[in-house]
């Protein structure tokens, strides 16, 4: 019952949006190659379902692997950097500056370096997710209050104990903020990288080639699959967050 009450408004908005879309297409007699009506997209989705699932999994694998390597590497690098505040201060400005680099612009070069298959896409996703995770984790690990450190000192705690019992749990909310953002980034990175070239059995290549042939409904059905996978990825990270930090959510839900 609580679930229904919580999600009913959102579901209603979705239904209303789809109806409006359907109506606009009919009222203004928009050609389907410009903007297909939702039911046409669903129809196309049913026809090409087996292919789209395969292509979706292909692209999703790139996103998940890139995410795991990029975020995992970012967390480990931040842990290493946090043990030396001097070193952390040295690299942090560059890590922050890297956020303004359009990493996707490297996608064509990544193909030169890592080949046209999944490797180049994974490399782009790794680059896109590494720095945001690194920055957030490092900030989380080093934002422990001075009083907290004094308290630990008064108990003659070792650096290792301070790290495991204070810094690490303290950093978790910031780490997960980065992970949630990176889940979205990873899917974008994988699909857009494929626009620059890849095998036909990938979502990005399929969207690009069907769109250039004005097979708009096929392109839309692939976009729909990309959206669904992106949401799935995001909510998987949210679920992991809830399981890792139950204390954090108990508070919000009261």
């Amino acid at each position: 019952m609580r679930l229904v009450r919580e999600y009913a408004p959102a579901a209603l908005v979705l239904a209303a949006g789809l109806l409006l879309w359907e109506a606009v297409v009919y009222v203004f007699s928009i050609e389907f190659y410009l903007l297909p009506a939702p039911h046409v997209i669903v129809q196309s989705l049913r026809e090409t379902y087996p292919f789209l699932v395969g292509a979706g999994l292909y692209t999703f694998t790139e996103a998940v692997l890139g995410f795991a390597l990029g975020c995992g590497g970012g967390i480990l690098a931040a842990m290493a950097a946090s043990t030396s505040p001097g070193f952390a201060g040295l690299v942090l400005p560059y890590a922050v500056a890297s956020a303004s680099i359009p990493i996707i612009a490297l996608a064509p070069l990544a193909i030169v370096w890592f080949g046209v298959e999944q490797g180049s896409k994974i490399a782009i996703v790794v680059l896109m997710t590494f720095f945001p995770t690194f920055i957030s984790t490092l900030r989380g690990l080093s934002s422990v209050t001075p009083q907290s450190l004094e308290l630990m000192r008064s108990y003659a705690a070792t650096e290792r104990q301070i790290f495991l019992k204070i810094r690490l749990p303290h950093s978790l909310p910031m780490v997960f903020t980065a992970l949630r953002a990176c889940a979205t980034l990873a899917m974008i990175g994988a699909v857009v990288s494929e626009f620059f070239g890849g095998p036909v059995k990938s979502l990005g290549v399929y969207i690009k080639s069907t769109a250039s042939l004005f097979q708009t409904r096929q392109a839309w059905s692939a976009i729909l699959v990309a959206c669904a996978l992106g949401l799935l990825f995001y909510f998987a990270v949210v679920l992991l967050e809830r399981l890792t930090m139950p204390w954090h959510f108990e508070r919000r839900e009261r």
């Binding site: 004094e150 003659a156 019992k165 930090m245």
Partner: protein, 271 residues
């Protein structure tokens, strides 16, 4: 005559910064005997928190010596002779109340049985037994500070260092916690060094009050509090209580910066 549990000899502290050197403490000498409750009171910036931190080996003195339990402050810290309470409770949101109290026992690697039983006993002592499974945010400010006191007692320290622990609480909660703190100190036989802004609080709690002068902080005078023990609510109504409050206030009078307990025009008595 037993040797003092805390002995400060000519302790000085100068903070170096880009703006230059700031002399925070000058020639502070003090001896605290076992079982005493000594309050340090003084205007803002008189170095009373620094003094507390020097005793606890959280800050090094620039000059002078600190002996605690007959050893250096560092050794006392490594031996876990201290329990510290700050103005903010410094509780960890990912730990329940019980787990917060247990933290020092985990850090000291105490055996499982003690880790299980000691936190419960301490929560019983501060009257929070039924909140063991709660998270800190579910507790009021006063309750959080009681958890913090319970945690400070976890390793049965011989010395309690408290830096304005009740400074952020309302007057009624503060008075109740004053009372509880005295009971806790009596039961644990801990020696207490207590920094405060409140004259009434200092008089109620202490065996002696160290009044400090403005920067550079040095000991202006030491007021012995000869009120009967155990102290109770009626202690605050004794004529001697008012006399002592007035005495401490007069020692502090040149100091307009006393934030926690400003002199009130037309009403010299305590609240």
């Amino acid at each position: 005559m037993a040797s003092p549990i805390i002995a400060l000899d000519a302790v000085a502290k100068t903070f170096e910064s880009r703006a230059g050197a700031t002399e925070a403490l000058r020639a502070v000498s003090l001896a605290v005997d076992a079982g005493e409750f000594v309050s340090i009171i003084g205007p803002s910036g008189c170095g009373k928190s620094s003094l507390l931190r020097i005793v606890g080996d959280l800050v090094d003195p620039s000059a002078g010596t600190v002996r605690v339990n007959g050893k250096s402050a560092r050794q006392a810290r490594l031996d876990r002779d201290y329990g510290i309470v700050f103005q903010t409770p410094v509780l960890y949101e990912w730990r329940t109340v019980l787990e917060n109290v247990r933290l020092p026992l985990e850090l000291a690697g105490r055996p499982r049985g003690e880790r299980e039983q000691r936190p419960r006993a301490l929560l019983r002592l501060v009257g929070l037994e039924e909140f063991a499974g709660h998270y800190p945010w579910q507790l009021s400010g006063g309750m959080q500070q009681r958890v913090s006191i319970a945690r400070a007692l976890a390793l049965n320290p011989s010395i309690l260092l408290m830096d304005e622990p009740f400074g952020a609480l309302d007057e009624m909660t503060r008075e109740r916690l004053n009372q509880e703190l005295l009971q806790v100190c009596a039961e644990t036989a801990a020696t207490a060094l207590f920094v405060t802004h409140s004259i009434a609080e200092a008089v109620f709690l202490s065996t002696r009050i160290v009044v400090m002068s403005p920067r550079p902080g040095c000991i202006e005078r030491v007021v012995a509090v000869d009120l009967p023990r155990p102290r109770a609510a009626k202690t605050r109504a004794l004529p001697r209580f008012f006399e002592l409050v007035t005495e401490v206030r007069q020692s502090l009078r040149e100091d307009p910066g006393l934030a926690g307990d400003p002199p009130r025009p037309g009403g010299p008595g305590p609240r």
